[in-house]
Symmetry: C2
Subunit: 189 residues, 2 copies
């Protein structure tokens, strides 16, 4: 997706050889016109897969999921990172390691909103080691729903997540794949 | 907003006299068609206010902000509840008390994305005691931006937030106001 590559080159900042910040349009400030184009692109790639729901994880996945769901005309479910007084019913749970926050956390999805009749598209902002995606995949499995595929905005191709998930036969659609960000230079696949 | 009242009556669950759960369409599963109508309604109410950015707070505000921003053609900024490796620059901070999680937390907005030239619309899912809204208002003030108004999906009119904020001269547009949820009955204003 050329538009996205261009924005990453123009506004992305490289913190070190593993961390790319895209806070100006994807992770803190949100460029809704770009997100709309991202949603249209995911729709194009998954429109023949009879998706019934889009699953993501709070917080950075929500905007992407919303704009994709708007075009695909299905609901979104976002996995929660904590159980509050507002989420006390029976939940599917999984464990996720956050490399940016350097700790494990649990994610939760209420059993009410996923069933064996669902055909799920997972979307997220980044795919690096695949920890968040694996947690969401685990929750889809536990629910008995079918996982149609995973839509990723930015895949870090130099980390192992994409390779490992594809080797399990999963369909991963990444809008851009970055092969390296060494010495501050972003190299796309 | 009749459509929203209807959904609250059909699907909202009353946990006690203060807690209304709307997890099936607003806080965990997201009904994007409804959110689209919410976005259109906020646009209608604020379209003559020269809004430059929509400010909200992760996570439940993001979907509302996105669908509003989509129609108003402005960017969203969502305040973060923690500082990760991806948000290490200079931030505006404020303190918010969460009644659902029963603890104080800090919220952060990077100084890069709010300036004295901005004309801000704050949006959020609920207005109860006004703690989250006050934190966001505090951040807008610290940035020197102008606050045009606050768009709320569900105001709990029996709690003090709306009254206190309006008494300060702030413009609050709530799509529905609930006057009481005693004995499991939801009474709209």
């Amino acid at each position: 997706m050329e538009l996205l590559k261009q924005r990453i080159l123009e506004e992305g900042t490289v913190k070190n050889q593993n961390v790319l910040k895209v806070d100006s349009f994807l992770n803190h400030q949100l460029d809704i016109e770009l997100l709309n184009n991202i949603g249209l692109e995911f729709k194009k790639r998954f429109q023949n897969d009879n998706i019934t729901k889009i699953l993501t994880i709070e917080s950075s996945g929500i905007a992407i999921a919303c704009m994709t769901a708007f075009h695909m005309k299905v609901p979104v479910i976002f996995a929660k990172k904590s159980v509050s007084l507002n989420l006390d019913e029976s939940c599917y749970e999984s464990d996720v390691y956050s490399f940016t926050k350097q700790k494990f956390y649990k994610i939760y999805v209420s059993k009410k909103y996923l069933s064996s009749e669902d055909n799920i598209l997972i979307v997220d902002d980044f795919l690096a080691m695949g920890s968040a995606a694996s947690g969401l995949i685990d929750i889809v499995k536990k629910s008995g729903a079918t996982l149609s595929g995973i839509g990723i905005v930015i895949e870090k191709g130099f980390q192992d997540g994409g390779r490992v998930l594809r080797s399990k036969g999963l369909r991963i659609e990444s809008l851009v794949i970055i092969d390296s960000i060494e010495n501050g230079n972003i190299v796309f696949r």
